[in-house]
Amino acid sequence: MSTVTLRVFRFKQGDAAPHYDTFTVTAGPRTTVLEALQAVRRDQDPSLILRHSCHHASCGTCGMRVNGHEVLACVTPLADLGPVVTVEPLQNAPLVADLVVDMHPFYATFTQAGMPLVRTSDNLAGSHPAPGIETLTRFENCLECGLCLSACPVVATDPLYLGPAAMAAAWRVVQEPRGADPAQALAWVDQEHGCWRCHLAFECSTVCPNDVQPGQAIAALRQRLVQGEPAPPRPRPAAAEPAPSPARAARRGLRAWFDPRGRDVGYWAFVLHRVTGLALVFYLVLHLWVLRLLARGPQAWDDFIALARSPLFLALDGVLLFGILFHGLNGLRVALVGLGRGAARHKALFWALMAVLVVALLVGVAALVAVVHGA
């Protein structure tokens, strides 16, 4: 038995602002975060509320952020998490109170994917499933917990984005329609705020407690849309664009880009891609501005060249080279994976490209110094 301090996010409707309460609990080797919170509610503060139901990661209700990571509290052992454990509600969903978020916006989008929710049967005794079907990760693995929406950097800022869970559901319809219309599902994701908004951060797949891999599903949808024969014109499914509802206020906005807690490498790739992209646009404008000197004739330009060979300029060139290399190499990954190539090994691909970046940066800077000093 060890003693753990829980820092629990608290908020009730009508409160001016949320705060954190601290509770001390004891944890055995198997004690889960959910059991610890139940004990707090039973023994210390009966006003604490949270969602839970099945206690074995099957219902998906006890999603929350523990030390910044989206998890299902019922299968998260407390003992592994250090002496102080921070527990907060999911992000990008309207807060009800304490650790409870409102699932209405989740289902408003999720149900539009049109996926038949439960199979009538799973490989019935004596049945002979179609070749390949037994190897599918069934989407019904989705617990509808909403962890992926909480982790996604695009959901954080774009209230119209369909989001990973619903698009994984749409991909299930395409994979195995079971009476639903795959063309309808494809048409639904083929929109500005659908599969084309995803930036392949793969945070959804990282936090998914049941290996649904929504990121890979979105990449597969794109691949299908790019390769598939052009879909006949058809009416858009009603309400295909979710209204910018109260959910909008619940989203975190741009500050989500700069919150490091609990995030994996794909998230950083996304943020760095955005930051380097904006910086490169700024540089483009600057570059064109400097080139105006060319229009002024030889004297102005050759004066600038002298300045450009100063050490400060060279250092800035190094930064520029890094920005270009990162944006270019990660961009290659996003383009490739976004078309379904290498989605299964996106992380290995990322690190391989980063290795290329380091080599190219070193060679590039060395060559730059050599060229300038060789002059």
Partner: protein, 386 residues
């Protein structure tokens, strides 16, 4: 819609089905639940749609309820079940000796059976213990412990019922000795609430006794926890039961890509204090592996306990001796009007429990409204959030 207002305490399977039933009969319903709906016993059961075969020998009343409800639920909640059937497997000669009693019990309670040879059973389920003697196929199934009750709640809500999770009842309101409402704490806004009611139904499951005490009446409910263990891997497609008298660790329910092994049984005083004893986890592995050897090495996803709300004497030792049937109490018999308690039963029989309870409720209210829940097809669970 009548002017009568009924408050249901408890958002488990029973309260959910009752809210649906009463709403269909034209009664205004408010359901209050101290936590999230299905956060008590309901959400934590092993996900078995009972055929009743498990109780066919020792508890025929419960068995009959199960097979009847099994048939009705398949009709009113299409898509909520895997129609994967169940097998009762005889591993030892002792199990085999139970076969005749078992078949007789199933026949007497109307549960269809099909006896499979060892070879037939192993062809259907290759992961079964190859030493098995024979197996009996019954119409068990797998359900989602949370999403079926959510369908009752969703349908009730869309027919006008008010569902209030995170509303903890702290007391009943009286006029003389007649219950006229409830009071408690709204935990979303952290303020007190009161609700007037023409009648209050206590559907708090293993917590029913705590609620009954608020009216100074007693209900004989025994919170009887059982440990369940979910392991990774879908080792069988069918629900596997041991062909013997219901005991510890004798059922394995496949759920999605997991297998849930259950259960043990003991009794406690407080359903909020549920341990998960290490030796019970070991027992589940051990007993489960007797039917499906691969379970012995299957990695564990979770182990948890759920408290059954059994009806019976508090002198009960393990809970195994108590029936799985249910009982409705009209507390007018103890001098408290306007207050009804429903306890016992199982998730599979929740609709039947609601029907019997609602029959009593409308009789007490003086309404003439027949039950319609056998026919009305339920909305999908997602409609609860729509």
């Amino acid at each position: 819609m009548s002017a009568y207002h009924v408050v249901i305490i408890g958002g488990g399977a029973t309260g959910a089905a009752l809210a649906h039933d009463l709403t269909l009969r034209g009664v205004q319903v408010t359901l209050v639940e101290r936590g999230e709906v299905t956060s008590g016993t309901t959400g934590r059961h092993h996900g078995l749609l009972h055929s009743g075969a498990r109780y066919a020998v020792k508890d025929p009343e419960s068995a009959r309820e199960c097979i009847q409800e099994n048939t009705i639920l398949r009709r009113i909640a299409p898509g909520s079940f895997e129609l994967n059937d169940g097998l009762f497997v005889a591993i030892t000669d002792e199990d085999l000796a139970y076969y005749d009693d078992f078949m007789e019990g199933c026949a007497a309670t109307g549960i269809p059976t099909r006896t499979l040879s060892r070879e037939e059973a192993l062809r259907l389920e290759p992961n079964l213990n190859p030493d098995l003697k024979l197996a009996v196929q019954v119409p068990d199934g797998t359900m989602d412990a949370m999403r079926l009750p959510l369908r009752f709640l969703a349908t009730a809500k869309h027919n006008g019922a008010r569902i209030l999770p995170f509303h903890r009842v702290t007391g009943l309101r009286f006029h003389g000795r007649t219950v006229v409402g409830v009071q408690g704490r709204d935990l979303v806004r952290n303020r007190d609430f009161t609700l007037d009611a023409d009648l209050v139904v206590n559907a708090a499951g293993p917590w029913a006794e705590q609620i009954a005490r608020m009216a100074d009446v007693d209900v004989p409910v025994v919170p009887s926890p059982g440990v369940l263990v979910a392991v990774y891997g879908r080792w069988t497609n069918m629900v596997i039961n041991r062909l013997h008298r219901a005991g510890d660790g004798d059922i394995v329910v496949p759920q999605r890509t997991l297998s849930v092994i259950g259960t043990s049984s003991w009794v406690v005083d407080d359903p909020d204090h549920l341990d998960v004893p290490e030796e019970h986890i070991r027992l589940m592995y051990e007993k489960g592996a007797e039917m499906i050897p691969a379970l012995a090495h299957a990695p564990m996803r979770a182990a948890w306990a759920a408290a059954r709300p059994l009806v019976g004497s508090r002198q009960a030792q393990s809970g195994r001796e108590l029936s799985r049937t249910f009982k409705v109490f009209d507390h007018a018999e103890e001098g408290v009007e306007g207050f009804v308690t429903i306890v016992g039963g199982k998730a599979t029989t929740a609709r039947a429990m609601a029907e019997v309870t609602a029959d009593l409720v409308v009789r007490k209210l003086g309404l003439d409204a027949p039950c319609r829940t056998r026919e009305v097809v339920l909305l999908p669970h997602t409609a609860y959030y729509a």
